[in-house]
Symmetry: C2
Subunit: 342 residues, 2 copies
């Protein structure tokens, strides 16, 4: 049995907790979260499943690690390398492997080269593995594209889009995507940094370039408002015609002024109201050209939770170091226990 | 530089020779083929490229290995484990890794469990790696499906189809697919084993089951004639309306009498004449359901050649043993040298 601690028990972390409990060969030995409302609760109670799991959520990560001695920790507390480096140091210090869904950790050297070097050195020194993963960055716009190029004799350009529906998400996501704003307020938000869009383009492009050697010398991003022509409404936001229903965020990986990688990620609420199909789309130009479609898109939350848990045995088996998804073995769905087989 | 010997210089082997010459970090040091017309020819002459490569095709594989001391050998001589085991023994004896496109070697334990055990023991003993790969089996109907399940929390069933066009292929393929026969002659050919259809279904299903733990207890295959409604003609075969234009080969991986994996591979000439689109299609049932399309299909020859060459560094870096594609790192397109960049 692989001993697992879940660090961070929010929306994503709760999904991981539930999935760890279903997987053959994994044993949940600890759960960490600092939110007062969660501290002391049994994981079963927290997840709303019948019966106690026998693991209580506790605030002191260091103590949980020391007492439970996990083989691996799933870390779901933040999107940013700077904010996960401290828990990662504690985990490494305890000799445990780590998987984090922090978007920047898909390729931490992009935003935090010095921290990435430190984490790499620490991992090797402690003989542990650290992996950043998630649906995007981590899979749709990087690892999956890379895997498809395995059948290519040459790759000259990549174009990929992830068109999704943000309707299930809450007020925080609405705000960072500028949903419900006027186009003018959206433009100001892009300027002042409050309209964030997608976190992970630079990381995906760096991962593609690391494997495919495309000599990218610049990444250019644009954020445009998706102005709605119809009224759209979710539990958390109302968008009148003429207002912003989403953020069309794009990134181009440039080589000497030419776009070699083009990634599109228009994120909005209720795209079907304007007959916009959702899906994941990959075009690889080279020998041969390839055109891939997944419709509808791989659901982000379900996929991120799945990847974090499914990568556990590969991370346990991996040589020490700070890894990217494209360096790992082909991912796969871990078998569930007989009782939880659907 | 990784020193490469190409063993088998037919259609696929020639593609590999050409691609090895284009890839950064690979050095072609030898070429083996026993066909009298090829022996002694420079590889450049054989490929019809300008200039000599400086490597002549030779018949004696053992001598080529001993004299060139390759790091790895690409073996493209046969579809069957029984027919590649002897060259694999020689390659292992020389301490070189091997990649073969023999379809059965994608999962050799399915058809030749005893030989697979011997090859595994030999590989470990010699400290070398042996990998079977190719577009199918090896990628479309196994590795790619497995990679997609990485975003799944549960997998309950798999349905996948590869719909392709056999028009470029020669008389040997027409015969093994029963193309140009009457439906009655096709049925007799299925009975007497001359209509072979696709080689690799059992291997793909075994690979899926090895990773996804689907408890498959039986594989059921069917071969039906694709009877043409129109006249179809290629360089090698003429099909009148009412005659057989291809073989619709299917396989089902059963668990207690129920199909858990369904693989379809209708192979025919000129499917567009009856408005049949070609493509690779994957549906995964579980959490979530996933629907993937690649249209048109990944071209078989180009893809098989690419995979064999692209997997070289991963096989070199791998721990010793007999490996399947799903155990290897995520495949990717190796960079070409600056001169051959397209």
């Amino acid at each position: 049995m692989i001993r697992v601690v879940q660090w961070g028990c929010g929306a994503m972390g709760s999904g991981m907790l539930a999935l760890v409990l279903k997987k053959k060969g994994l044993q949940l030995v600890g759960a960490v979260d600092s939110r007062p409302a969660l501290i002391g609760r049994d994981v079963g109670e927290h997840l709303g499943i019948s019966g106690k799991v026998g693991v209580a959520i506790r605030a002191d990560g260091g103590r949980v690690l020391a007492e439970t001695r996990p083989d691996i920790v799933l870390l779901a507390t933040s999107s940013f390398t700077q904010e996960v480096v401290e828990p990662l140091r504690r985990i490494a210090g305890q000799g445990a492997d780590a998987i984090t869904i922090a978007e920047e950790m898909a390729m931490p050297r992009v935003k935090s080269p010095e921290l990435a070097r430190q984490l790499q050195d620490l991992a090797v020194q402690q003989g542990i593995t650290i992996l950043g993963t998630g649906i995007n960055p981590g899979f749709v716009l990087d690892t999956l594209i890379i895997a498809l190029t395995g059948v290519c004799q040459a790759v000259t350009a990549i174009e990929a889009s992830r068109v999704n529906d943000l309707s299930p998400y809450g007020p925080a996501v609405m705000k960072t995507q500028g949903i419900g704003l006027t186009p003018a307020a959206f433009a100001r938000g892009v300027q002042d940094g409050t309209v964030v869009g997608h976190i992970g383009f630079a990381e995906s492009i760096a991962m593609l370039d690391a494997k495919l050697n495309l000599a990218i010398d610049e990444v250019v991003e644009t954020k445009a408002p998706i102005v709605s022509h119809v009224a759209r409404e979710t539990r958390y936001v109302k968008v009148a015609p003429g207002m912003v229903a989403g953020c069309h965020h794009t990134a181009r990986g440039m080589r000497r002024g030419q776009a070699v990688i083009t990634l599109n990620h228009p994120q909005q609420i209720l795209p079907h109201l304007e007959n916009v199909p959702t899906g994941d789309y990959i075009t690889i130009r080279g020998k041969p050209d390839l055109h891939m479609k997944i419709e509808p898109e791989i659901p982000g939350g379900v996929g991120t939770v799945a990847l974090a848990v499914n990568m556990i045995p590969a991370v346990i088996a991996s040589a020490p170091g700070l890894k990217m998804m494209a360096d790992m073995p082909v991912p796969y769905c871990l078998p569930n226990t007989a009782e939880t087989e659907t």
